[in-house]
């Protein structure tokens, strides 16, 4: 926008006559009209399966023989910046855990948790992991505290599934609540 604007500019005039800018803008709009939709039809038809690095709901691991890996050393609760993890150890040499020290209480307050993953970094036995479960919304504050018993149940997504895809899913309404059931066989790469 310098000296040239003062004089007559033929090119500008032609652009104005044939609505170049308008067509340019419209082509973007119309382009989206014909391109594939990026809207995730979540939760009715689709669900995002996160990458393995995702930090979602915690779970507690077992070893190959089914013994709990957690030795209740409380390092996770010590490392936690929000003090959302409570661990109370106890002695149990019946083979429940890999050591005779096991957790009597292992609970995490999901409302306080900021999913930083320090707990899994601190864990000396790789017992606590942040999983790929992210549907933790609820209407009841009590269910935001997850206990050892619930966290020991393996999460729906196995560790070996790569993730980073959108899969077909189904919204199921049950008396216990609603959930989104993914169908892992039919997935597509997320287009951005």
């Amino acid at each position: 926008m310098n000296g040239r604007t003062k004089g007559f500019n033929l090119l500008e005039l032609i652009k104005k006559v044939v609505f170049t800018d308008f067509v340019k803008g419209l082509s973007i709009t119309l382009g989206y009209n014909v391109s594939r939709s990026i809207t995730q039809r979540y939760p009715d038809e689709e669900k995002w399966i996160p990458y393995r690095r995702w930090r979602g709901l915690h779970y507690l691991n077992r070893d190959a023989e089914g013994r709990e890996l957690c030795v209740a050393c409380e390092l996770c609760s010590k490392a936690c910046p929000t003090q959302c993890i409570t661990v109370v150890p106890m002695e149990d040499d019946s083979g429940r855990g890999i050591a005779d020290r096991v957790a009597k209480v292992w609970k995490v307050d999901l409302v306080r948790c900021l999913y930083c993953g320090y707990c899994e970094d601190a864990c000396p036995t790789r017992a606590v992991r942040l999983g790929r479960e992210y549907e933790t919304a609820c209407t009841d504050l009590a269910s935001t505290v997850r206990r050892r018993e619930e966290l020991l149940v393996p999460q729906a997504l196995a560790e070996n599934i790569e993730g980073g895809v959108l899969v077909k899913s189904r919204l199921v309404r049950t008396p216990e609540g609603i959930k989104v059931e993914p169908d892992l066989r039919r997935h597509k790469k997320r287009s951005l």
Partner: protein, 834 residues
Amino acid sequence: MVTVKINGKEITVEDGTLILNAARDAGFEVPTFCYQADLIGIGSCRMCLVEIEGQKKLQPSCVTPVLHGMSINTESPTVVSARAGVLEFLLANHALDCPVCDKGGECELQDMVYRYGPHKGRHAEPKFKFHEKDYVLSPVIIKNSNRCVQCVKCVRVCREVVGANVLTSLNRGDHQEETSFLRSFLDCDQDGNCIEVCPVGCFMRLPYRYKTRPWDLKGADTVCPYCATGCRMVIEHRDGVVIRARAQLGVGLNSETLCARGRFGFDFINNPNRLTTPLVRKRGALEPASWEEAMGLIKKNFSVGGGKVGGIASPRLVNEELYLFQKLFRTVFNSPNIDSSSRWDPLAVESFVSAASMHEGGVSIFDCMASDTLLIIGSHLSDENPVTDYIVRRISANRRMNVIIASPRAMKLDSSATQLLRHLPGAEDSVLEAIILNLNYDKLPDETLKPVKDARLEALLSTAGALDKEIKAIARKLGASSTVAVIAGTDFLRAPQSIPALGLLKDLLRSRGKKVTVLPALDRCNQRGAWEMGVHPGFGPGYSRVDKKGLGCDGILAAAEQGELDALYIAGSDVASMYPDGEFAAKALSAVKFLVVQDIFLTETAKLAHVVLPGASFAEKEGIFTNQEGRAQIIRKLLPPPGKAKRDFDIIRAVGESFDPSFGPKNPVLVLDEIRKEAPMYGDVSLVFNNKKNIEDKLDNRAALVKGAQSAALKVSRIEPRADLGGAEQFPFRLVTGNHLFHSGMLSRMSSSMTGLLNAAVIEISEGDADALGLRNGDKVSVRGAACEAQMTLRTRKGSGKGMAFVAENFEDAPVARFFRRGKGAPRVAITKI
């Protein structure tokens, strides 16, 4: 004095100082595992290696004394790499199970490796393991040898301080295991000092096992609530449950040591049977009630002025509460009938206080241990005051001094004695008088000496059951020393006829220019405080004179039995179980027109009450305990009282306020100010509580000792011995009572750890007597007295006197109090096998 150069810094220290201490004085840190100020150095851990210029090899600084002109390097590259090498070797076979180990988080090995370690191990070989699973040594101690760093502190503390000699080092090199033979603690004191000194998680508390991490614990500095040694400790809780008591190195007179009661006996605090609400007797049964209702009843039934009322306060309350208690009775109820002990005669107490010179102010046990001769008499120190026993053993082993022990029963401390005397139970007077006869007493032209002058040595020796040469040896030792310390125990109060002889010996030795200190060995944590606060019918706060002398516990019960007592207020004392003649006590307490009991458990006494008020335990209040030395020490609050229970201070104040709204002071701090005014002994006692870790051996906090009372209204009364119950033919054993090592009063009976160590009553006789009866250690026996019969387990003890049976006064199933008869001497019993 020698001058040495440490890391280029010149420092002048005393001859014989260890390089380690010199370096620490100069401000350089030298890491150690095996060094501890009060244990003999062995230089086993090699963490403290330093470089001495001119010497090729590194030297262990914890056993090498400085020499003049030495130039020492503690930070040179050789030293740093040697430390890292030592740690690498220590970790080579270390279990490295920190996430599971109870010590994780406060482990010295963790700290050292973090600070000085190589952070990388090169050992790929499989680790050597002593065992797979931790093994239980006793109901309170569990062991994992795989974590051991072979510092041998546990063995040394067991041998040098505790004197139990249970632990030893088996095998050699990295297979060296510090354990007991057969891996069982057969005859251990269960005091857990091995746990406390262990730098790693090798010895562990079983009650604490896998309950928490050290960083979850919230602690409060406090004083042990059992005997009157006054050991400082820290109790720690998690989520409202007290799970650990620990001593701290260099803090308090006990440093790192505690006894079994102190270390494991705290769990009565969380006993589910604690009283949590006031109880009021309705239609014959105690039923929960509100505080208003209970207080209303007290106001209605206690008469101010007119009627006869009495009060008995426990010597386990803090000074502030005891002061307020006596103030309540002396000013509000206008009654001098108060006492702080259900077992002892008030006249005996007054005589004892005077004879033991308690009114002359505090006596530090370290001063006693600095004297030429220490005489321990009238106390089974090893069981009644275990930490006092440790101090005596530890210090007497390191200096030339006479330790004379006169006791009817054999005890652990006997091994430290230079002169031992076994006398007959209750014959302390004959022993002391025989000693006095052997001392040159002519220079004391005193009326009080008359009875001793008239006595004949042979007669005294036969009543004492002692040999002439033993007495002569003791007298010679006392006569030859310029400073003498006497530890006089509670047996003087049990047999009060001995008290004048104690006073006499003290005066006689003093008149000959000797410095004599008497340390009373008491068995309730604040017994001395209770007396100094004036909870006694014969003297007021600071042993001051009172206008009107009142009735003691015995007199109160006698009045109650006659139906003359209108109201009785018992705070924390279990009179029904502890008064010698249980039957009489129960009868008398039932005859009280209105009985208020304030306690933390529903004791035998509380069951007879009309109103029961729930009080607070030592963990739930702040205040001051005065230990047997006269050291005033603060306890701090850890938890709120359970349920509707209140601090005893608040209860006593509320009772006072319901009669006199101006009764006060209103809070413990103001009470302390008043105590300082009323009892000048406490005037300038410093309560500044130094909880700083002190690695040198400076445990004697003298500023906490109480001062002497200016005007003590005390006198030693000659108390005639009570007539024996008789029946020597039928009942061959004289009953001796006291506290068991694991129990103290009835309080420790509420601790599950202590009842786990010993639950049922035991009777202890000498080995010779047992052989004569054909009995063996561990037999079940029936113990029969003139008034009572009980079943117990027999324990035999080598070296105890003959014709004497010891039963601890702590067991409900063997109520020793019921063997006694009021006004009579010690009972006799017969033992038969079941």
